[in-house]
Symmetry: C2
Subunit: 202 residues, 2 copies
């Protein structure tokens, strides 16, 4: 348990590996992350990684699991604590922005996984994550319409797509500027326009 220990238990190493990948993804193209780079970041040799993961894809798989649990848990909590659907929408957005501000590599990884040809497991995990996210948005948007908080003629499908695009646009802008902090600082202004678009402007 001390800081000088050279051998860590498997579950801690697995957690540290995920963390290393998420960190590296913030600095470079996720698909260019090598096992050597991951190991180096952890202070290990490259081969040691394969004591804990059978393959590189298994590492990415663990990362996708990590993202799914953390992001959806935070989002669900934000929804629960909100007083109304419109408030929940805003809380989910801010939660999401907080998450990608803390882990700017995550949206890049998701985008990258979706681009992979074929049917890899990490790709399917990225798909289901975004689908589940979309379903929560859909529910929220429907509820908002029912309560009269959102425009009666709002297309929930389109509104969910734009919601995700809003985050994606902020991520892109931050990459352009080379400044991750812009995600958080630009978020309120961009979301205000979205809110007006769906009819929830005060």
């Amino acid at each position: 348990m001390n800081g000088r220990s050279k051998h860590l238990p498997a579950d801690e190493r697995r957690a540290a590996t995920v963390e290393a990948v998420v960190d590296l993804a913030a600095e470079q193209n996720p698909s260019d992350i090598t096992t050597t780079a991951i190991a180096q970041r952890m202070g290990l040799t490259q081969g040691a990684l394969f004591r804990h993961f059978p393959t590189k894809d298994a590492i990415l798989q663990a990362v996708m699991s990590w993202v799914t649990e953390r992001l959806l848990a935070r989002v669900d909590k934000a929804i629960e604590e909100a007083a109304s659907p419109a408030a929940a929408l805003e809380a989910v957005f801010m939660t999401h922005i907080d998450f990608v501000s803390d882990h700017p590599g995550v949206p890049r990884m998701l985008f990258g996984e979706l681009q992979r040809p074929g049917e890899t497991l990490p790709k399917r995990m990225a798909q289901t994550l975004i689908r589940h996210y979309g379903e929560r948005l859909h529910t929220l948007l429907d509820a908002g319409k029912a309560r009269g908080e959102l425009h009666a003629d709002l297309d929930p499908e389109a509104a969910a797509t734009l919601f995700i695009g809003t985050v994606q646009g902020l991520v892109m802008q931050s990459m352009l500027a080379g400044d991750v902090t812009r995600i958080r600082s630009d978020a309120p202004g961009v979301f205000a326009i979205y809110l007006r678009g769906v009819g929830a402007s005060s």
Copy 2:
């Protein structure tokens, strides 16, 4: 000039190379496109590519040039022909959607280039392309506000970011569904919400 010719002039091969890369980018992660894959798509051996380009980055550079010329030219034409800033905004959007529907690999390549560490030439070209695009949007949004077509308190910076995010969201949705045609079919609904957000709803 006939179809049976085995040797093509350099400029035609360069154009064909760009086309091959754009096509491949629609099918896989752009950063995973190899020179072997490009050559194979063109019916050439891998080494033959280097008769026309000194390096792989030079190929990507040519692709970014191609994208810049085509996209900005179409966008500028759409702006010129529009009667008002709000109409121009919609025309630019539809032009952009047409472009990425025809070439779904392009937004992926731009996103991918932005992620590259260091200062490569193709990366800088991607940055300037998006910046120029953003400037045109900014001008349009300012003009729209001046004419009273858009909300007086609209933040043009945020509106430009959301505009690009709108496209990005549609691209992401199409990757999720594995169906490129959804970009075009979902575009009007998503853009309608954007329009309402900036205050240009009829």
